[in-house]
């Protein structure tokens, strides 16, 4: 299929492009910009005037619920949500049932996603068997079956000796380890940030130290082993500072942040609205400011959705008894655009954080519109407003605190591998 994307504002931070021009797509590739290549017969035109054309978004953290938890979402429903959100690559966590700890499950997820064909799905494998923090998972085999990175998620590896061996083994095979740093001993039965709001509501708090102690331990062991490492969804200012200091010492570690932690704080939990029950928790205003600063300085190079769709029952209980997480694929872009509106980032910088930066962290060739690259493209109207509601969300998870709110910025078309996978 030969597609002409006509008259859009084409932004690609990897090429320093920000201009109104045309893009030509053929056979899954971006084949030309501005001028049609010789012999190009246009079969489909996408009018992108007044819209932004950028690389398809890459989301570093999505919980895909298939296999095993399909009441919360399926690969079909969630990749459809991704396409509607302009996201063309999903990095998915290993906490399916069964877990991504065997080649069979890793391959099943990728095969299902490829059959459906709405988004690229790259699974992360479990770092330890059963995520139990005791025995190494078969990292090399999983990597051969397409696992892009390895994580123990928020399940503690209590023994530092075991963690050290996991990192040494991953380093042996040059595998990327993703930390969702959390000391569960300090989390105990906590369900929100430990501060005045938790004190008032009588909800058990998760102290900042639950994150910083684990970040500190991981950084020291990363330094010792030289493993490729990334910190996912940091939630507090001090953790950002610790990663920044390590990078200054020359350690090559990266970090990302979930969009909701850049916008909301623990005060949103007032009134016990379980939609704000998130993990990592929403933290203080100071933390939010620190995360925003980290984004500006580049310590936090990528923004992710931390998409965790749930069935309605999961959120219908008293706050602490509900399951944490929010559905976020379709709000990732509009919520991120509010950072541009608030003049925290320029639009090309924001697009970098949603495309090229995550590609760099993962070491994959994606997140660019360069001629010859795969045609993963997001076309959005930065000014169009829409209301988040149960009907407007394609995700099976309607669990978002932004329900009922009107957001600015809406995806009009998404191309993956040169095919139109979403068009409004």
């Amino acid at each position: 299929m030969n597609i002409l994307i006509q008259g859009g504002r084409v932004i690609d931070p990897t090429q320093d492009w920000d201009e109104i021009t045309d893009l030509y797509v053929s056979n899954g590739e971006i084949v030309a910009r501005d001028q049609a290549p010789e012999g190009f017969v246009v079969e489909e035109v996408i009018d992108a005037s007044g819209q932004v054309v950028c690389p398809g978004l890459i989301d570093l953290c999505t919980h895909l619920r298939e296999p095993g938890l399909t009441q919360k979402g399926t690969i079909a429903s969630e990749t459809a949500a991704a396409a509607a959100g302009g996201i063309t690559t999903l990095i998915v966590t290993p906490n399916t049932q069964p877990l991504v700890e065997t080649a069979a499950v890793a391959e099943l997820i990728q095969d299902r996603a490829a059959d459906i064909g709405l988004a690229r799905v790259l699974p992360m494998g479990a770092l330890t068997r059963g995520l139990e923090g005791e025995q190494l998972a078969p990292l090399h085999g999983l990597a051969s079956s397409g696992c892009i990175a390895f994580t123990n998620m928020r399940h503690s590896i209590n023994s530092s000796q075991t963690l050290l061996r996991c990192l040494e083994y991953a380093a042996t095979h040059d595998l990327l380890v993703v930390f969702q740093a959390q000391d569960n001993d300090l989390v105990a039965s906590g369900c929100m940030h430990d501060d005045t709001t938790s004190t008032r509501l009588g909800l058990n708090g998760i102290p900042e130290a639950a994150e910083t102690i684990e970040v500190s331990r991981c950084l020291l062991l990363v330094e010792q082993t030289g493993v490729r490492a990334h910190f996912g969804q940091l939630s507090c200012e001090r953790a950002v500072q610790m990663v920044a200091a390590a990078r200054e010492r020359g350690l090559s570690v990266s970090a990302d942040v979930a969009i909701q932690n850049l916008l909301l704080t623990d005060e949103n939990v007032n009134g016990f609205n379980a939609a704000y029950h998130l993990q990592p928790p929403l933290r203080s205003q100071l933390d939010r400011a620190g995360l925003r600063q980290g984004l500006v300085t580049g310590t936090l190079s990528a923004i992710c959705s931390d998409h965790q769709p749930h069935d309605p029952i999961a959120k219908q209980a008293p706050f602490a008894a509900t399951e944490p997480g929010m559905s976020g694929l379709e709000t990732l872009l509009p919520l991120s655009l509010s950072l541009v509106e608030q003049q925290l980032l320029a639009l090309p910088q924001l697009i970098e954080a949603l495309t090229a930066a995550p590609a760099r962290i993962l070491g994959i060739e994606a997140g660019t519109l360069n001629i010859g690259s795969q045609a993963d493209i997001c076309i959005f109207d930065p000014d169009a407003e829409w209301t988040v509601n149960v009907d407007s969300l394609r995700s099976a998870g309607k669990n978002t605190p932004f329900l009922g709110q009107t957001l600015k910025g809406r995806v009009n078309a998404t191309l993956m591998d040169g095919r139109i996978v979403f068009r409004r």
């Binding site: 430990d194 005045t196 004190t199 008032r200 009588g202 016990f272 219908q316 706050f319």
Partner: protein
């Protein structure tokens, strides 16, 4: 765009009447005073031959206790009966919710039986809010204790007890002593005392039993009894659960009693006419010495008596607010 929601909109009708009683936090002073005034009249009534009034005649009150309690449950039951309501007591142990029936299912079943009021005790903070907001918004919900969050009727009976003995709140210095961290009673007391305008609220406890940033609630923090009790008019003791010893919060009951247990020596730090309160049940020799608990300055039994009156006041107010709201809704629907 991303504002925190108003936690108090839920418990008031559009014209400011009580329709659920979930927390003392954020309620206007006039409303708290109204509850105390109404309760006062019920205290007087309880000394008469006929103790019943027909305020809740024909209404069904369900006491839903997901946590064991004898004292609170029985005072709620008595209060409802003195208001002429039909009363159903349900002790729902946590095991029955493990059978797969969710809290929501349980409540919707009870709502289908045309209950008018739920009195709810639950181990999770926010349980009463959850029920009032998402499960049965047309049933008046009275919070009889949710997790560590709130126990508003206990706080109001404490306020009534203080007012009946001290009159004016304004000049009072009040100390709350013991396990503040796990205490829903302390949180509700602090909000009520602040709204009623006492001079000073103090909390006294070791740091392991104090929540972070408790000062933000408007209290002064003390870690020793000698300075904390100085010049205090009212001492409110809290119950200490035995399991706190197992979780490295305290070394032993004996050490806690030595440092924070209220005995005659420590009582001498307070004003000579200081009164002593305790929500019960008492651990004698852990939080309080028997001689103090049973002594002339103890108001512990008054608290129990006042508890019935306060619960009658809150139940009758919430019911009339809830009925008014339902009426307004029906009218609006008719017009539409």
């Amino acid at each position: 765009m991303f504002e925190a929601n108003d936690p108090n909109a839920l418990q008031l009708t559009t014209d400011g009447q009580l329709r659920h009683f979930l927390t003392t936090e954020g309620l206007p002073r006039e409303l708290l005073v109204e509850i105390l005034d109404t309760a006062d009249s019920f205290v007087d009534m309880s000394q008469q031959q006929v103790k019943k009034v027909p305020l809740l005649r024909g209404k069904t009150v369900v006491n839903l206790f997901f946590e064991a309690s004898t004292r609170t449950l029985s005072t709620f039951e008595l209060a409802a009966k003195r208001l002429s309501a039909d009363v159903l007591n349900l002790n729902i142990s946590t095991s029955s919710t493990k059978k797969g029936e969710t809290l929501k299912d349980t409540l919707m079943t009870l709502e289908a039986m045309h209950s008018d009021m739920f009195v709810v005790r639950h181990a999770d903070s926010g349980a009463a809010h959850f029920i009032a907001q998402h499960v049965t918004p047309h049933v008046a919900v009275i919070n009889a204790g949710d997790g560590r969050h709130a126990h508003p009727t206990q706080a109001m009976l404490d306020m009534l007890t203080i007012r009946r003995h001290k009159g004016d709140f304004a000049p009072l210095k009040v100390a709350i002593v013991g396990d503040i961290l796990h205490s829903r009673v302390a949180r509700s007391q602090i909000h009520a005392l602040r709204t009623l305008g006492v001079d000073e609220i103090r909390v006294i406890a070791p740091k392991t039993l104090l929540p972070r940033h408790i000062e933000a609630l408007g209290v002064k923090v003390y870690t020793d009894m000698a300075t904390g009790l100085r010049d205090v008019d009212v001492i409110m003791m809290l119950r200490l659960q035995k399991e706190r010893m197992q979780s490295a919060l305290l070394p032993s009951e004996a050490e806690f009693y030595k440092l924070y247990g209220l005995n005659r020596d420590k009582l001498a730090y307070a004003k000579p006419d200081a009164v002593v309160m305790h929500p019960g049940p008492i651990n004698r020799g852990v939080e309080i010495e028997s001689e103090v608990a049973d002594g002339p300055r103890s108001l512990i039994l008054d608290q129990v008596t006042n508890g019935i009156a306060v619960r009658m006041a809150v139940m009758s107010k919430a019911m009339s607010g809830q009925l008014a709201q339902r009426g307004a809704l029906a009218e609006a629907e008719e017009q539409a």
